[in-house]
Symmetry: C2
Subunit: 197 residues, 2 copies
Amino acid sequence: MKLYDLELSGNCYKVRLFAALAGIDLEIVPVDFLGGAHKRPPLTDLNPWGELPILVDGERVLRDSQAILVHLAGSYGGAAWWPAEAPLQAEIVQWLSTAANEIQNGPASARLVDRFGYTLDKADTLARAARILPLLDAHLADHDWLAIGRPTIADCAMYPYVALAPEGGIDLAPYRHIARWIERVRALPGYRAMPGT
Amino acid sequence: MKLYDLELSGNCYKVRLFAALAGIDLEIVPVDFLGGAHKRPPLTDLNPWGELPILVDGERVLRDSQAILVHLAGSYGGAAWWPAEAPLQAEIVQWLSTAANEIQNGPASARLVDRFGYTLDKADTLARAARILPLLDAHLADHDWLAIGRPTIADCAMYPYVALAPEGGIDLAPYRHIARWIERVRALPGYRAMPGT
């Protein structure tokens, strides 16, 4: 299996983190992101959206880090990470949506501005972060893990850009339950860090 | 099962549409949205995020329309809509993420400005729509349905705010493959419209 990867992308790190935790071998293919390789063929033949990560597993090609987590966990990671029961999957999907929307457009986008010079509305990214982080903190006040009482791909999808929030100028100090959850993720067997976390 | 609902919400309509297509009975509980009932107890006890829809199924409470679709389809709708195989689920989840992010922050948010007076950056919502709609149109040029070759919850998650795009001042005329997909959705047995679609 090939992961078309950018080391500094939190979306790519979601996949590398989960693969490390679940003991799944990935062939990492570094992409020349600064050179724009993801925006032209052959990579746009794999993902017309021009984004990373991309997973190629035989004939299957997947974009979107959340979808890649579902595939890896359901096909190779076992029911611990992505159970077969729909009500449990739904509880996890709540957080996959949060990772795709509120976290991507909040802390992840704030980091794109500060760290990589993207021309996004920084105030908007901070306002979105200021809404979602207290909700996340309140949830974690009485949950060790985001969904179904154990570590799942929900935690892998949410962790990277929450832990990287300080790179977008967001202080995590007010969020003590988030801080403890970050420590719990880091203590998982097989945990693999990325620069900035 | 109770669905806390707002008739004019496309996110609520995703759930009502799927329930109609799959023949699932829901008790619809209209929420006084203009009066802010979703922003205070008892609804914030069910969903601290202060958003609709909310599904209550016995002891289970779910926020996020994508997660609700997974629960309803996996628990009551059958494998046609949400198959058990992880690679197929992953193909669908790609579009659940797109619905949660690109569509929500593009055409759905443009409609919030024009139709409901939200103070969002209209130009940003239009720019996001102008990126995602051509990608969607290109995908639909050689796919009748968004994922796995048949109607699934991917179509239910994406359809409402794409079909409602004109209410945000977005002209769908350039997107002829989207127009044909909209017609295919409308022709599904059990299809139920909402005002504006």
